[in-house]
Structures are given as C-alpha cells and as structure tokens.
C-alpha cells in the first residue's frame, strides 16, 4: 500500500523540480509580467520586440540622423518590415519632412532591417512603436497611471527618455525607470 503513495510523491517531486528549473529559464528570457500575453503565435501574439534592442555595433549615420528630432529608437523595437515602411516614407514622417539623400537612406535602412526584432512573428508591421502589442501591454493602465502621459515632461509615448533615462542606449531596464513627478 505504501508503494503507490511513494510513487505519486516521487512523481510530484520530479514535476516540481522540473517546474522550478523551467520557470526561471522562461522568465530569464524576458522581463516580468509577460506571461499573460502568451499565444500560439508567440509572446504578445507575435508582436514582440527583439533582443537585443540595440545591437552591439551601432551605425554612426543612424545615430546622427535618427536622433535630431527624437532619440534614435533601437532597431529591435520593430520588425524589419516596419523599418522598410518608415524609411520609404521619410518625406512624410509622422507629419514632418525627415527626408535623407539616397545613400544615407540606403545605409540606415540596411542597419535597421539587419537589426530589427528577431522575435516578431506576426504579419503586422506598425509604423509606431507604441502601436505594438508588447508596447501596449507594458504601458497599459495597470502598469502606468494614465495621468503620467499628461505630464508635460512626458508629453508623448514617443518620449521614451522621459521615464527610461538610458533609452538612447537601448536600455529599458525596469529597475532604471524614473517616472517624472
């Protein structure tokens, strides 16, 4: 009579052990609070930013040209197709003319496309980073008090550096977040 009970316990112990190994691995892959976005197509329904966000080797033209009006958003934040679309429409870039000459455009496009999100499996390709599912989940009302967006120091979701001081370096670590008062 002891045997089945022991066997059950052993199975349970093995299962627990397996879980304790599996869970940290799954979490280490990403930041917290992402579990509920899981779908068959991948995390965030496939609209997931890549890793790393900013490649180890950056591009001087990209740094210079993409940071005059806003911070140079890390290429890993959007899929390759989004960058292709952004770079094809620079003459009307969110209401502004941000056109480049052909050589600059080609070089920067290649850099963005080559370093785009490597975890974006959805067929979507938004133009705005803030339209992606991962962005919305990370910044929904349960995460960020809606009043924060109205703070003039924040102004717009495009202003990453308002709360992520090292956004320009591609560092969005949660521990470094400083929400302006």
């Amino acid at each position: 009579m002891m045997m089945p009970k022991q066997k059950t316990f052993r199975l349970f112990a093995v299962a627990m052990l397996a879980m304790s190994v599996a869970i940290p691995v799954a979490q280490a892959d990403d930041d917290r609070n992402e579990g509920y976005g899981e779908k068959r197509s991948g995390k965030y329904g496939g609209e997931n930013r890549g890793k790393p966000l900013q490649p180890a080797q950056t591009n001087a033209k990209f740094q210079q040209e993409c940071s005059t009006c806003h911070i140079a958003y890390s290429p890993g934040l959007l899929p390759a197709e989004s960058w292709r679309k952004v770079m094809a429409g620079l003459d009307k870039h969110f209401g502004s003319d941000a056109s480049l000459d052909a050589a600059e455009n080609k070089e920067i496009s290649a850099f963005l496309v080559n370093n785009a999100s490597n975890r974006w499996s959805a067929a979507t390709a938004p133009l705005r980073i803030s339209e992606s599912v991962w962005f919305k989940r990370k910044h929904d009302a349960s995460e960020i008090n809606p009043a924060v967006w109205k703070n003039p120091q924040v102004k717009s979701p495009a202003n990453c550096a308002a709360c992520h001081p090292r956004a320009e370096q591609g560092d969005y670590n949660e521990d470094a977040i400083r929400i302006p008062k």
């Binding site: 911070i71 969110f94 003319d97 480049l100 102004k155 717009s156 495009a158």
Partner: protein
C-alpha cells in the same frame, strides 16, 4: 617615446582633416552662394534681415512657424514642437557650427520649408532668413 609623440601628431592632423568637411564654409560664404542663386530671379534686390525676421516668426501654410521649434529668439536653444527634443540655437553667434555645411543647410531648408510652407523655400526666402540669423546677437 618620440615615436609615440610623432604618431600622435600625425593622428591629430588626420583627425583634423577628417573634421574639416563639417566646417567647409562660413555662414557668409553660404549666404553668398544663396545670393548667387537668387540673383537669377527677376526683380531681385538683395536680402533683408527684417523681412527674414517676419518670415521666421510668422505662420505660413501649416501649423508651425520656424519659431515653433527654434523659438522667437534664435540665439536660444529650441525644442521640437512635437517630441520636445532639445535643438541647439540656430543663430551662428550662439552656435558656431550653424550654416557651415552646405549639405546640411540644404537638407534642413528642404525639410523645414516643407513642414512650415508645404513647399520648398525660394532663394529669396532662404537668404532673408539667413541674413536675419546673422544679425541675431548672442
């Protein structure tokens, strides 16, 4: 030791040469080349800093004027009207790198004139604005 110094001097000279293109011209040289362009248009009678100032501060076709981002005082740092990103002063007296690269001047006139007027600026307009900016004291 001497050798290291030698290499250092060569390196600095090369770095100095490499930095050259950004400072290829002075603002007056750039103004002169805009003038050359404007001279071809009928009725051209030179540039006016005063006209440049009103052009700079006024709204034209669109919601933004030049001053929307560069402020009413081009000797002061500006701020992008949409993103809030800081912009260095536009007046050469306040920021020496301004109007020293013809390529940059062309690029930004094209972009900003489209944003403000929905069209390219005429040589007259560009010259007036630069003439105005050159009168702005720090």
């Amino acid at each position: 030791m001497f050798r290291i110094f030698h290499i250092g001097v060569v390196f600095m000279a090369v770095a100095g040469l490499a930095a050259q293109p950004a400072w290829a011209e002075t603002p007056s040289e750039i103004l002169a080349s805009i003038q050359k362009e404007a001279a071809g248009t009928p009725g051209f009678q030179g540039f006016s800093a005063e006209r440049g100032m009103s052009f700079f501060k006024a709204k034209h076709t669109n919601e933004w004027s030049c001053a929307s981002c560069h402020t009413d005082n081009p000797a002061m740092p500006g701020k992008h009207a949409k993103t809030g990103k800081a912009i260095d002063p536009l007046a050469p007296s306040a920021y020496a790198a301004r109007f020293t690269s013809p390529k940059k001047v062309e690029k930004w006139f094209k972009r900003n004139c489209n944003d403000v007027l929905d069209r390219a600026c005429t040589p007259q307009e560009k010259g007036d604005v630069l003439a105005y900016l050159l009168t702005v004291k720090k």
